[in-house]
């Protein structure tokens, strides 16, 4: 498959996923109808819509719109972060959880749920709803910054040290999480459990707007990262020989991934598997060169997450499955099948 074709197919898949995410739900709004409502609203403003379109517009703009935008953002962030981590660690099994983001975010989330109760009622309701994601965001970011600090000596960040210290920090955060879970009441436990399984429910444009800059920051850096990550596949020394500022690359990759992943985890919970699988799917079809791999992974990741969310909404309607359950239940077997089928191409 040529790279241009891959970009086109990925963009097409994402378009389909966006349309599905907008139209499918308890109230079905067909894609043509959805497009018509959006078009009318753009032309006349929402106040100027005919009465028969008002309900559709409310669902599209206030519920499914932010949900779709958040899903695309989170999926793109996870896939891109996974691809960058795999390139940086030179290991196809790496994912952002290795640098402590997920465990740090989980610790901060459970800490807020269990210990934040005392102050939660002091916040205005609008802020109260954001307290959990904001806590998770800073928890995830703090864990990675701490990790980067531990693994950097004389201005050089050691990748092996990052990996091992990441395991240690992850275990420490898990211990703290376990302790807080032990202290938690049943209702707090339930809140935390559902948070860890992930959901795009409760998406608002405010959440989209808060997550977008951090994901955007990583996306903007992809051209710089792509060239560097290609060279790093040769090893750090050879990458330096061919003109890459490896230390700058590592810092940019680590911070970019941490910020984007923390934003994704904070707004949708710890959704597994997309970050690992999306880059793999892309690598299998167009090879490992990052210039195409990074953008196509982002598109595919967004499409995968939106598709999973549609399934999560519909499988047990009117209830919603946690989206992490869907990504794992569908993705893992598919991924295994791909690995077995394309074993030779993947591992040489």
């Amino acid at each position: 498959m040529t790279k241009a074709a891959a970009v086109l197919i990925a963009a097409l898949l994402l378009t389909l996923a966006v349309l599905a995410s907008l139209s499918i739900g308890p109230v079905a709004i067909g894609p043509t109808r959805a497009v018509a409502v959006i078009e009318a609203a753009v032309r006349h403003g929402r106040a100027g819509l005919p009465p028969d379109m008002l309900r559709g517009a409310a669902i599209l703009f206030d519920v499914r719109g932010p949900r779709t935008a958040l899903g695309a953002l989170v999926g793109a962030a996870m896939a891109l972060a996974g691809a960058v981590m795999q390139g940086m660690f030179r290991n196809p099994l790496a994912d952002p959880s290795l640098v402590g983001v997920s465990s740090g975010a989980a610790l901060a989330a459970v800490a807020w749920i269990v210990l934040g109760e005392g102050v939660a009622h002091l916040l205005p309701p609008a802020l109260g709803a954001l307290a959990l994601p904001v806590a998770a965001f800073f928890g995830g970011l703090a864990a990675t910054l701490l990790l980067a600090r531990i693994a950097t000596r004389d201005g050089r960040t050691e990748i092996a040290m990052t990996l091992l210290a990441g395991v240690a920090l992850g275990a420490l955060a898990a211990a703290g999480t376990g302790l807080l879970v032990f202290m938690a009441r049943d209702d707090q436990l339930r809140t935390f459990l559902f948070w860890t399984l992930g959901s795009l429910g409760g998406a608002t444009w405010l959440k989209v707007g808060l997550a977008a800059p951090f994901v955007g920051w990583l996306i903007i850096q992809t051209p710089f990262l792509a060239r560097g990550l290609d060279a790093v596949a040769l090893g750090e020394r050879a990458a330096f020989h061919s003109g890459v500022d490896v230390e700058r690359l590592k810092k940019a990759a680590l911070l970019g991934v941490a910020a984007a992943t923390a934003a994704a985890v904070a707004s949708a919970g710890a959704i597994g598997f997309v970050g690992l699988a999306a880059p793999h799917l892309v690598r299998l079809s167009i090879g490992p060169a990052h210039r195409a791999l990074l953008p196509v992974s982002a598109l595919i990741g967004a499409a995968l997450l939106l598709g999973s969310d549609v399934v999560a909404r519909m499988a047990a309607a009117p209830a919603e499955l946690p989206i992490g359950v869907v990504t794992a239940a569908f993705g893992a077997p598919f991924f295994l099948w791909l690995l077995l089928r394309r074993r030779a191409r993947l591992f040489g």
Partner: protein
Amino acid sequence: MSALEATGVSVRLGGRTVVAEASLAIRPGRVTVLIGPNGAGKSSLLAALAGDLPPSEGEVALDGAPLSFLKPAELARRRAVLTQTVELAFPFTVDEVVRLGLPQGLARAEADRAVEEALAAVDLAGAGPRSSTAMSGGERQRAHLARVLAQLAAAPDARPRYLLLDEPTASLDLAHQLATLAIARRHADAGGGVLAVLHDVNLAAMAADELVAMKAGRIVAAGAPASVLTDDMVAAVYDVAARVGVAPGGPFLLPQTAKALRR
């Protein structure tokens, strides 16, 4: 005078001094070859000249400018390095591997030509679409040599460029060993400087304008091959008693005449 030059360079690794007070100049138009026993510090000295290992004492300068003042991208336009083992993390094609060396912002036609010429130079013409992970060790080594050549071939100006090769012939058959050394010679003839670490003293003596022998981190002899490769030097550096012969092309050493002095 332009040169890639180490002046009184010492390198410490893990608390041990692996290169001690080494001074060495790689000059345009000349092939300099480093020889010496395992652990003599050859690769570490090469790494210091490449800018990988900051010297604990002394200085490395590229045409007069200290290496530490140069950005990686600037350095890459003026010197290229082939290291002993390069393990690719992902199955890049040969073409992609060679392109990794090219500087950014090169015009497409120019890049294509540099890649094609580099592959032809290492006898891998037409191998571009093959997966580099499915190649033999020798082929892979040549693919990386092509990458290194492409990196320098694409440099825009006429300043001298330096080629640093760490055991470039290690996993090659005889024909490709000779071809690789011929590439080094051509680079020097075209006005570039070459430093190669070689294990085979015969290849080294044949390829070198200047032969440099190291032992225990120190440079113990340097000069024309005939003046460096002598019975006394072989005994002192390798702890081997041998009779160095002289062929029309320069000195040679037959392992059949050699005997280990002590171990």
